[in-house]
Structure formats: structure tokens, C-alpha cells
Amino acid sequence: MTSDSYVARLRQVTQRYGKVIALDDISLDVPAGNLTGLIGPDGIGKSSVLSLIAGARRLQHGHVEVLDGSMADAHHRLRICSRIAYMPQGLGRNLYPTLSVRENIDFFARLFGLDPGLRSGRIGWVTDATGLQPFLERPAGKLSGGMKQKLGLCCALIHDPDLLILDEPTTGVDPLSRRQFWEMIARIRAGRPQMSVLVATAYMEEAARFDWLVAMTKGRVLSVGTPEELRRRTTSQTLDEAFIKFLPDTGQNVLRKSPPPPPQTHLDQVIAVRAQGLTIAFGDFTAVDHVDLTIRQGEIFGFVGSNGCGKTTTMKMLTGLLEPDAGSAELFGQDIHASDISTRRRVGYMSQSFSLYTELSVRQNLELHARLFAVPSTLIHERVREVAERFELTAVLERLPTTLPLGLRQRLSLAVAMIHKPDLLILDEPTSGVDPIARDAFWVSLTELSRNDGITIFISTHFMNEAERCDRISLMHEGRILITDTPKALTERKQASSLEEAFILFLEEAGGSSAGGQATSLLPPQSWQMEEHPSTSSHHSGGMRRLFAYARRESLELGRDPLRLSLSLVGSVILLLVIAYGISLDVEHLSFAVLDWDQSAISHDYTQNIAGSRYFDEQTPLTSHADMDRRMGSGKLSLAIEIPPGFGRDLAHGRKAEIGAWVDGAMPTRAEIVESYVTGMHDQWLARRATEAGQAAREAAPATIALRFRYNPDVKSIVAMAPAVIPLLLMLIPAILTALSVVREKELGSIVNFYVTPTTPLEFLVGKQIPYIALSLVSFLLLTIVVIAVFRVPLKGSFLTLLMGAVLYLSATTAMGLLLSTFMRSQIAALFGTAVLTLLPAVSFSGLTDPVSSLSGIGRLIGEIYPTSHFLVVARGTFSKALQFSNLTSSFLPLLAAPVILVGLSALLLQKQER
């Protein structure tokens, strides 16, 4: 075979994450034009192989060649990534939940540089082919799991990839949707036979229909070949079996193929769960519609149904998490209320997604739950040991849950749900994404619990071989229970060959095939065929398009969050009003009191001189030094004046007198102002007395000092403060807006779209930044209007200069948030980091109250380079000093440099691949 026959080749690839070896010296050739499957237990490196081939993950050791080039070569990756489509693990993990189906697909189409005409044509075709056409305007977050996966496929197919990589695309998807999904893949492959498809899956019955399989375990390849070959090689009936036989360590990994649980010997008459007419609505959507349930003690009761049909909601109502709108539910004869916690002790609940504390070790999680369920502390140690043994967790007790494979994590969840020996277990899709061996072990435990300990189990699942092991199952569809019976009876009722077939028949009868995709055209019409991959030929011209694709998407998302929009606009105006009024430096109504030992006409005159001003309010006179100490100590007086005995007499006799003034220094700014007021008034008083005494001529000052308060002749605080608050707000709010934008994509998973599309870090960052700059510019205009109209501070200088400064400044402040977002790993740290690194410098080091040149130490240094200082000069300059651009060039240079440096730094820090 020539190299053309292989779409990807791996040679001696080894990947380690911390101490864990994910891939151990793997070599593998993936044939082109095939549907190739990767099978194996959880956590053995299937996802690692796929993400390496997709270019989403950095290669550590070895050689990976995809589409005739090395994936270690960044240029090759950039060249070919538009020929690859990658759909990561997890339901809709790379989709944007607030965007509609159309907008999601459109975003991907733009990233791959499709022309507008081609775009709408191809969106029409892929949604038609997948049956998503009727849901074009529905937000992705509101789709069911199966539909999310179809949408993911649409997004992957929009640019006609040559290699389609799907990581567990049908995990957590109901059987009907799963079947539709594979039918769709088959149709598309029929239309594009040259396309290679690489899939990881935990469903062996799916894998049995693939062209070629790679069986993996523990970071190694066990065997390759067609499903038929694999079966033959191991003389097995099913692929499931074949797979087990491949595993080297047979002692551990025997698929016990446990028999279905023996029938219940003594039919317990105690009713564990009784629900009648349970109904709940979210808005105008009725999620659960008059559901009746009766589950006997010790029974294993299964819940099956399509994604989003209300199983989880029903379960949540039974746990007391949700209060039903109508109907009633009883556990062991007791009504369930959200506020009543006594019944909760009898229930163990395991939610659909892993929801234990990832920051606590396995042991700490178990102990915490034991304590919260009030297991006596003397028993806790024993109980933890017991469940750890039962669920084979003893070896991993000290590890963090995140480092465990999915199967072990699910076992931990079950162990946690069991720790307090509940009478009823409510398990919501506990085996979703768990490999067959782990799943079997799980069911062995469940059977034991039910049959030996008499525990009632209420479980939902998408696996029909699991549903078969239940005593009875309910079929749910669109909020209603269609039918409840034993698995055998259900199969017989539809005269189906298997439960899965029966299930699909029931659903189709109930109208569940609405999203089935009756695609008429298997091929995109000629006019929508893609001639070539546009970004392959002209990567650079596509740069702007991708940048705008990101900008467009970010603004759509922002638009879907009206609270954030209004908070940032209205909030900044409110803050301006409060702060500009509030941090006034016009100090008035300071409290003062006099300790007047003299009590003469002159001493009263002196007191009146101070009390008469608008700056000071006189309080009850002081009686003694102790009184003064007490009242100043309590902060009730800002100023105390002491007039000595004989003050009037001394003055009359021309003897020198001394007046004491005590100022409360606990707030230095206020103290300084008080000092300057008192000094001024003292001098005034002296001057007045001199004039009255007719000394004017003799003692007149030899020279005068003409004081000119410039820019703000009335020395009004608001004129100085209002324009200065604008830079402050335009630092804090834009920075916090962008601070989560990257780290959030990392946490939620959509960052992978950046890894595997031809987007460069700069396109990604600037694209994200633009909407926030635009939003903040609106905010800037609002603030400017408020300053002019409400505070009556005229804009004396050039508005254009101010606007130009604002654009540069906002580019810098949004980049500041982006930088922190790129750098931090958790959202909390990004938030706190941004608050810490913007608040103090912007408020204290940027010249808001004290000019930067008067600061000292580190604060001065920070102030010199901080963008807020420079925009503050521009804002005050244009508002109060009537300045033009030419006067402000020295401030514009740093403002120009700041965004370039900050965005550049972010781009350097932003990895184009996952480590």
C-alpha cells in the first residue's frame, strides 16, 4: 500500500499526564476511506489518540503523520486542519449553548471561510440531512442529547472534511437517536466515499458494524482488523466477548456476564415509592406530565426513554430537589417535601453527571458524605473501608476523583450514594460512558444490593442490556410514561426480537421519530459542493474572516445575556453618579468644639469666626482636657480648639498669646484639610483685628500673591472628579467582562474549536475582544453624556481626541482581562486576580486623587506604566483643560503601546494545542 492508503500513521507515540501514562509506545496505521473504530475500556487512551490525530493535543514523544505530513509541524497542522473535523467527547461539549442551531453551524462555516451563498446552501443541506431543519432557531442548550450530537455532526460536516473524528459520539444518547445518528453517517459516507471516519465508542454493537477496528487497553494497541477478524481470532460469538479475551490480565477483567438477577423470591408488599399525577412545568414547557409510579421494596425498577423526556426531572422530584407543581409523591409512606429532610436519610441519589467534590480525595469524599448523613463517627472508618472494598476503590482511596477513569468515578459516586445504607437508591444514568466490564461489575453490585440487602433501586439507563436486567421498566416519552412492565412482557407485546427494537417501535408509535431526518438528498447539490478547501489555498485572507467569526459569535452570546449587557451599561452609569458625587473633596460640616478657659468677648469672637464658616459645625463646648480626650477618642470631633486663660487680657496688653488646635489625624486627608482651613481662618481673624485696630496701613503685606486656580476656577470637586471616574470605570468593567472569556471556554470545553480550526491565537483573542470594546465604547459615550449633562462639566477640548483615547484605552483594558483569562486556570482565580490587579492600581496609583508624580515606591512605578494614569490625563485634559491631540501626544504613546503589549503577551501565552 502507498502512503495514500493511510489517513493517519502513529509511530512510537508516548503521552504522559503527570504520573499517568496515557499512551505507551503506540504505533498504528489508520486506513483511508474507512469507518474505523477505537474500542477499549475507559481511560486507556482512546481520546488521546483521537485528539493527537486531530491536532488538538500536543504530541510529547513519537511521530504522528496525518494527511501526509507531521502533526508536530505547526505549518502542516494549519494547512490541513480545514480538511479535518473533530467532535470531542461529551454531549455538545464544543457547541455554544446560547446560540441557535443555525448560528452554531454558521460559526463553524465562517471559521472555515465559506462564502455567504455557500454557507446558507450548505446549512440547509446538513440540517436537512440530519433532520434538524425544524429546530434551526432553537438554542443548542435546549436540545436533547441526541439532537446535540446531530448538531455537533452538522458543525463537523459543514466544510466537507476528508477526515471526520468522532469521540464517543453516541454516549449518553438514547437508542433511537443513536440509530438515527449512524444511519446519517452511513448516508453521508455513501455520498462521499473518499471521506475517512475515525470513531471511539464504548458500544460494541455499534463497533460490530464498522469497517475496521483498533482494540486498545492501557495505552497500548491490542489488536487490529475487521470486526469479523477480531471475532474469529478469539473464537468469540460477540465483539464484547472478543474484546474481553484480548485483555491480558484475565483475572481482573473477566466479563462475568452475570446472569440477570434472580426473580424476587418474596414479593415485598411494602411500597417504596408511590407517585401520583406528578407534574412540573418550566415556563410553558411541561417537563413531566401526570406521572404515576409504584415501586415495591427490593425491586430494581428501570426508567428508559429518549433524551430530555423527563426522566431526570421525575427523579429529582422524588429526591425532593424539585417541588412538583401538581401531584404527590411518597417514599415509604411519607410525603416528600423539599423542606423536609427526614426522608432524605433513607435515599441515596446519584446524579447523571459526576457531581462529587473534585478537590477532595476519594476517602475525603466518602467521609464527608458519611458525616453529613450522620453515620456515627465510630462507624465511619469501618463503613468507608466496607464500601471501598465492595466497589474496589481501596487502591485509589487517596487519589483525586479527576485522576480516575470514568468507570471508577462512577463506582465512587455509587459508593457515596451507598455510604449511609439507604433503603432506596435513585440512580440517574449511572453507567453512561462506562465501558462494558466496569458496567457489568456495577450491575453485579446492584443485584447484590437488591437481592441480599433488600434495597430498592430506581435506575435510568440508555443501555438496553441493562434495562433487561431490571425487574420492571417504565418507558417515558415527552414527559409521560408510555408503558410499565417487565422487559420480557414489553418485548413480547411488540413481538420484537429485542428490547431495543421494542423500545424503538414504542417510541415511533408515540411520534418519536420527528427528528429522524428524512433526508432526500444524500449528496449536497452540485452548486453547494465545495471546489476546494478555501483556507488551504489562502490562509491569510481568511484571517480577517475568522477574526470576525469569533467577534460575531462573542457578540451573539453577549446579546443572549441581557443581564450582563444591562449591568455593564446601567451599572457603570450608576457607579459614575455615586462615585463622582461621593468622593467629593469639598470638605464641609466638620465637627469642632472649643475648650475656652478665657470666656472673654475676644475668645468668643475667635470661636464665632470658626463656627460661622460653612466648613465647621460647632458642638457643645469642651469642659476639660479629659472631656477633649474622650470626645476626640470617640471620633466625634475633627477639631478641638483650646483658648488659654487670660487670652483676651494678654491680647489687649499686646502680650503674645497662643491658641492650641488639635486635629484628629486618624484620617490624614481630612486632617490636612482641617489644618489648612484652621490656619486660613486664623490668619483671616488676625487680619480683621488688625484692620479694626487701624493697623492696616502699617502692617499691610509687602507683596501680594495672586492665586489663579486654573482649569477649575471654583475648585469644585466634581469638575476634577467626574471626568476622572470615567477612566476608572472603563478599566474595571471591561477587564472583568473579558476576564472569564478564555478561562470559561477552557472549563466548558469549547476551546477545542480553537485548537482544531485554522484560527491563530491573535484572531481568536482580537475577535473575542472586539465586541467588548464596542460594548464598552457605548458605555463610554453614556458616561461622557452623564458627565456633561448631569454634572454640568463642559467638555472644553476635542471630543475626537477623547474618543480616540477611549478606543485605545478600552483595547488595553479588555486586553488586560484577556491576559489574565489566558493565564489563569480557574474562573475564581481569574476573577479574583483581575479584581486584585485592577482595583488598587486604578483607584490609588493612577492619579485619581493624588497625582502619580507625587506617589512613591512601587505604587509610583505601577502608576507610571498603568494605562489608567495616561487615559486620566487625556480625560482631564480634554474635559477641563481644553486640550487637543497635539497637547497630549505624550499620553497617547503609552496608550498605543499598552494594547499591543497586552494582546501580544496573551497571544504568546495562549496555547494552540492542549498539553
Binding site: S355, T704, L831
Partner: protein, 377 residues
């Protein structure tokens, strides 16, 4: 509700919070930074009274007197004066290079000696309020002093019949670094407690762990109290260390009053601010929304509490509004305890106010928490 299990749950849930925080290395680093370096920077940056005020002098006289006036301005009050020309003066002030520009006219000395009462012009950049006000008084005093010494060879104050002796109490040097340090500690206490409590709640929601808690025999009250005590303990410890090591030891700020009383007040204030954090954590549905709410709340809390500018100068409405903010009372109390050595008898109204605000915020959050349970899971 039996008390023992409730207390036990609160204890264990709180321990869980502490363990979570210990795992976030970056967060620990940021806390360390906020309570050491940031405090140090804030304290040392603040100018002492009038510090190195930038002044420029246009000396058109070039006489002995004008030279003396120029030499009258020196550090630390003023930066050494820049000698400039009339033409440069406006441009320099426009660019914000000088706060003061003193123009000594030609023949100033000659006119003075001739008794013609010449006039010196002092230009002040009045957009820099703090310096403009106190600074211009200083400039006038210095110029008058130099003229008096030149003319009469004596100190100007000697000529006045009454001397005003000014003494600042509690902080004799009016050192702002004392003040800056303590206020920055208070700011960080507020910010950290709101973020830790609020973001921890949002994270529990985003990771689905809150749902897990709610199916257990655990009440919203217990969840809230555990967050309050755990967050409070971390911040209180950071505060105590910061005060003793950074503020007292490194910055050499003499703390007059009782540290215990201050920490007790900090604990009360933390009760209020963590409750506020939880409130915001329920109000905001995602981390980005919480971030914005945080900024909207924290800015007024920090800037209008009386720690930055005196409360006396605020308009009545802002002052009244800020009575509802825990920081206002905490700042007033901190000034009283740490500077004026005030005891419980003096500061009990602030303590009471903090308690009331805390109880109100806590109750409000608890009610909202209970009402939003459905949305949370």
C-alpha cells in the same frame, strides 16, 4: 431542628470548603499577594501630606530674593522646582507635569524694596484637588516667609500677636502610610470575602455539587453558615497575619489599640460581606454575571466607606446610603480602635451596626437561597 447534627454538618461542610481552597494554588498565591505585596505597595505609595508636589518657577526677576524663594521649595513637601520660561508654563501645566507654577515678575525685588507692593502669580492646577488646596496654602506661606525674612530678617510668625499651635492627634505626622495600609487591609478583606463566598457557591452550581448537597439531610442554612465560617476563618487569619507581619513589623505602623477588638469587628464585618457574597452568588447565574455584580458592589464599598475621602464631604444622600454598607462602619471602627485606642465603650455602635447589617444580609440571602432552590439544581 436538633442542634447537634446541624452544628456537625456546618463544621464538616466548612472543612470541605477549606480543603477545596487549599487545592487552588493560584488562588492561595493571589491571597498571599493581596495581603502582603498589595498592602505594602498601597501603604508606601501614599504621599505624606504634601509630598514631592511638582512645582515649576518662572524666574523673570533673577534677583537674590527670587533665588531665595526658589530655594524655599524642597523635598519632601515639594519636588525640587523646575526652572522654566513663561512660554513653557502653559504647556507643562496642560500636560499635567506641574501642579503649581509660580511666576516671579521682572524687577520683583526692586519693586518690593521700593514699597510698590509687587504681585507674584501662583498658578494652580485645580483638577488635582488634594494638592491644589493644601499645596497652595503652603506655597503662599513659603513665599511670604522668604519675603519677610528678606525684608525684616525675622521669622514671620513672630510678628503675629496670636500664634496658632497645630497638633495632629493619634497620628502626629499625619502619615498616610499608616492609613493606607490599614485601609488596604480592609479593602482586601471585603473583596476576598465576597469573592470566596460567592464564587464558591457558583462553582458548586456549575459543577452540580450543590444538587448533591440538597438531596442529603443538609439544610440551606447549614450550607450558608458553613461557607460563612470557612471563608471568614481564612480571611480573618490572612488579616491577622497581614496586620502583625506586614503592617506592624515591616511597615512599622504603631498600632495603638486592641488588635483583638479589631479582629472581632473584622469577624462581624466578614459575616456581613460573606453573606453579601452569597447573595450575589445566588443573584448571578453564571460566573461572568457574578463578576460584574462584584465590581458594581465592591467599588462603592471601597471608595465611599470613608477610607478614601472623608465621609463629611459626601453628599447627604450618599452618606445615608453608605450607612447600609458594612465597610462604612468597619472603617470608622478601624480608625477609632487602631489609631485612637478606642475601647468597646466607644465603638459599640459600629459593632451593633455591623451585626445588624450582617443579620439582614444573611437572612436575605437565606430567603433568596430557599426560594431559588429550584433554579439552583
Amino acid at each position: 431542628m436538633p442542634l447537634a447534627p446541624t452544628l456537625r454538618n456546618i463544621f464538616y461542610l466548612g472543612i470541605k470548603e477549606l480543603r477545596s481552597l487549599m487545592r487552588d494554588r493560584m488562588m492561595l498565591f493571589l491571597i498571599l499577594y493581596a495581603f502582603s505585596f498589595a498592602i505594602y505597595a498601597a501603604a508606601t505609595a501614599m504621599p505624606e501630606t504634601l509630598n514631592r508636589a511638582p512645582i515649576a518657577i518662572v524666574d523673570e526677576d533673577r534677583s537674590i530674593l527670587s533665588a531665595r524663594i526658589i530655594h524655599g521649595f524642597y523635598a519632601p513637601l515639594f519636588a525640587s522646582p523646575k526652572l522654566i520660561t513663561t512660554a513653557e508654563m502653559d504647556a507643562r501645566m496642560d500636560a499635567g507635569m506641574d501642579t503649581f507654577a509660580l511666576d516671579i515678575p521682572p524687577n520683583f525685588e526692586r519693586d518690593l524694596l521700593a514699597g510698590r507692593q509687587p504681585s507674584i502669580q501662583l498658578n494652580v492646577d485645580a483638577t488635582r484637588m488634594t494638592q491644589a488646596f493644601t499645596g497652595s496654602a503652603y506655597v503662599q506661606a513659603i513665599v511670604s516667609q522668604e519675603i519677610a525674612t528678606f525684608l525684616f530678617r525675622r521669622h514671620i510668625a513672630d510678628s503675629a500677636p496670636v500664634e496658632l499651635v497645630l497638633r495632629a492627634r493619634f497620628n502626629p505626622g499625619l502619615s498616610k502610610s499608616w492609613f493606607g495600609a490599614v485601609m488596604e487591609v480592609i479593602n482586601n478583606v471585603t473583596m476576598l470575602s465576597i469573592i470566596l463566598a460567592g464564587a464558591a457557591l457558583i462553582r458548586e452550581r456549575e459543577h452540580g455539587t450543590i444538587e448533591h448537597l440538597l438531596v442529603m439531610p443538609v439544610t440551606p442554612l447549614e450550607i450558608m453558615v458553613s461557607k460563612v465560617w470557612a471563608t471568614g476563618a481564612v480571611v480573618l487569619l490572612a488579616t491577622a497575619c497581614s496586620l502583625v507581619i506586614v503592617v506592624e513589623r515591616i511597615l512599622q505602623v504603631p498600632i495603638a489599640g486592641s488588635l483583638t477588638l479589631f479582629l472581632a469587628a473584622a469577624a462581624l464585618s466578614l459575616f456581613a460581606t460573606t453573606s453579601m457574597g452569597i447573595f450575589l452568588g445566588i443573584l448571578g447565574r453564571s460566573m461572568p454575571q457574578f463578576g460584574l455584580l462584584l465590581i458594581l458592589v465592591i467599588l462603592p464599598l471601597e471608595m465611599l466607606s470613608g477610607g478614601m475621602t472623608p465621609r463629611e464631604s459626601m453628599p447627604a444622600i450618599v452618606r445615608t446610603l453608605m450607612e447600609a454598607a458594612p465597610t462604612t462602619h468597619f472603617v470608622a471602627l478601624a480608625q477609632a480602635v487602631l489609631y485612637r485606642n478606642a475601647g468597646f465603650k466607644v465603638v459599640w455602635p459600629q459593632l451593633l451596626a455591623l451585626l445588624l447589617i450582617g443579620v439582614t444580609l444573611f437572612t436575605g440571602s437565606l430567603l433568596l437561597f430557599r426560594r431559588r432552590l429550584r433554579a439552583l439544581s
